[in-house]
Symmetry: C2
Amino acid sequence: MEAKIVEEIKRNKAFLIASHINPEGDAIGSALALAISLKNIGKEVTVFNQDPIPRNLQFLPMSAEIIHEIDGSLSFDAAFVLDCGGLDRVGKEIEKIRKIRKIINIDHHITNSRFGDIRLVDSQSSSTAELIYAVLKDIPIEVTYEIALNIYTAILTDTGAFCNPNTTERAFHIASEMVRIGVNPSNVAEKIYQEMPVSRLKLLGLVLNTLEILGNGRIASVVATLSMLKKTGATPELTEDIVTYPRSILGVKVAVLFREVSKNYYKVSFRSNKDVDVADIAREFSGGGHPNASGGNVGGSLLEVKGKVFEAISRRLV
Amino acid sequence: MEAKIVEEIKRNKAFLIASHINPEGDAIGSALALAISLKNIGKEVTVFNQDPIPRNLQFLPMSAEIIHEIDGSLSFDAAFVLDCGGLDRVGKEIEKIRKIRKIINIDHHITNSRFGDIRLVDSQSSSTAELIYAVLKDIPIEVTYEIALNIYTAILTDTGAFCNPNTTERAFHIASEMVRIGVNPSNVAEKIYQEMPVSRLKLLGLVLNTLEILGNGRIASVVATLSMLKKTGATPELTEDIVTYPRSILGVKVAVLFREVSKNYYKVSFRSNKDVDVADIAREFSGGGHPNASGGNVGGSLLEVKGKVFEAISRRLV
């Protein structure tokens, strides 16, 4: 499949590169690695993402050039849609993207809907960036420091610092290559993990104080209320990965974060170990996600919401 | 230097393998990787460490066979002393070890005192395990799954999940090799990082609630009191890496954990970014360590202790 993509790159001049809403390291790193590569061989490249670039990814080369709306007068020969399980994941500009003559779908999600004219979809890949790296090797395009920094960051973040199940021999091999090219792993880790706003740590303290353990030690939950956000000055995004803390407890199979969105309405995040499919649980609460990381929404008082959620989890723990 | 070590291995039969007090992943992983390797080629091997094996390393193959005292009637042809900056780091059995005919010092600490008859000391190495791996390649001894699991765990822990400054191209390359041999990175990460006692998370919540930011945002501190340990049921060891949390705040150059040891006596842990040498600060408080991670002890009320420590830090921040 790389061959067809290489052909499209060689034949065309103007490319759009799009990735998914609420982007993280792989969405942005893959898009920028490809964008810099194409620019370096004289192509015209526009990088689009509907949403703002997270603060801790703004150090990535070329990240400031990402646009958040597509000017209708622009025309493209082809569009790369990266790290998107479905085309709708690009967000509000979907109709403009759909009209582009060739859509190239590069992704590693097992749920990929196989949209687009050309597809490079491999759920065995640690990250979309790993697939981008394969394409660059095939053209071939020299992997400069700026490209390497984007690829490394994408792999680092998508593998959870090489701790998630998608961490493969090849992910480590590419990381090794990127370091050879000049990437400094500790500098990147510092940018990604070590530059937290103080409000986040204050929030973490308050949230951890709500820790509850139930189901014979197999369920752990924490709560983030609106008053905690107010008290600490933290934004709702800063609650995002707090659910990984209750998940880290010995014996816990399912961890839950209840985040108050408004009076009697909660966003619920789930994390689990291999044994429990929390995407299945999240679907009961108009949500979804991955088997071990998912989320949904539940109405009611905190006590009601907890009751519904714990009941749903308990049914899967038998 | 590997050649001399290879010669000693080939020539002799009975080996002691020792590593440092309060062992962590590299001390244990290096020792066990070497022990299994030597056993696999028919040698007699005894692995010694003065202290108990931390709970999260007890999954390592052969870890249950580590002895904590050396029977004086045992005799050894040679002793490997691993991951020790000085021979005294082996602890209470130093005199028995000192008497062994050949002492082989394998270490990656920049402060290594160059003790022993044969030395393989390389501060450019991510870990002592990386040096063990080089020795195995030279003999050569086949790296089995059990050996690979020990080497991988040592590199993972000593590089802080590939985030510390000692994370090199070669560290990633070896990690890639170990995964090829069969190591499952997410399973290891789960054993190392995901099996926390619930008391630790409760303690983390209470400690984070004491967060103080000063020095124009460049100093962050937290406090762990004896009453917090009592309330949560946490052991003092569980406070160990909590100082990395205040260190993760944007703009913070020095982070401090004040841990109450007894009335009016505090253990103080320091973490810093590249700019500040906290080993130098720790030395003022009868302690020491690495430039970016160190600790000392200070007497006085919490307010007095804070005063002394913040004053010492401020002098270095100018």
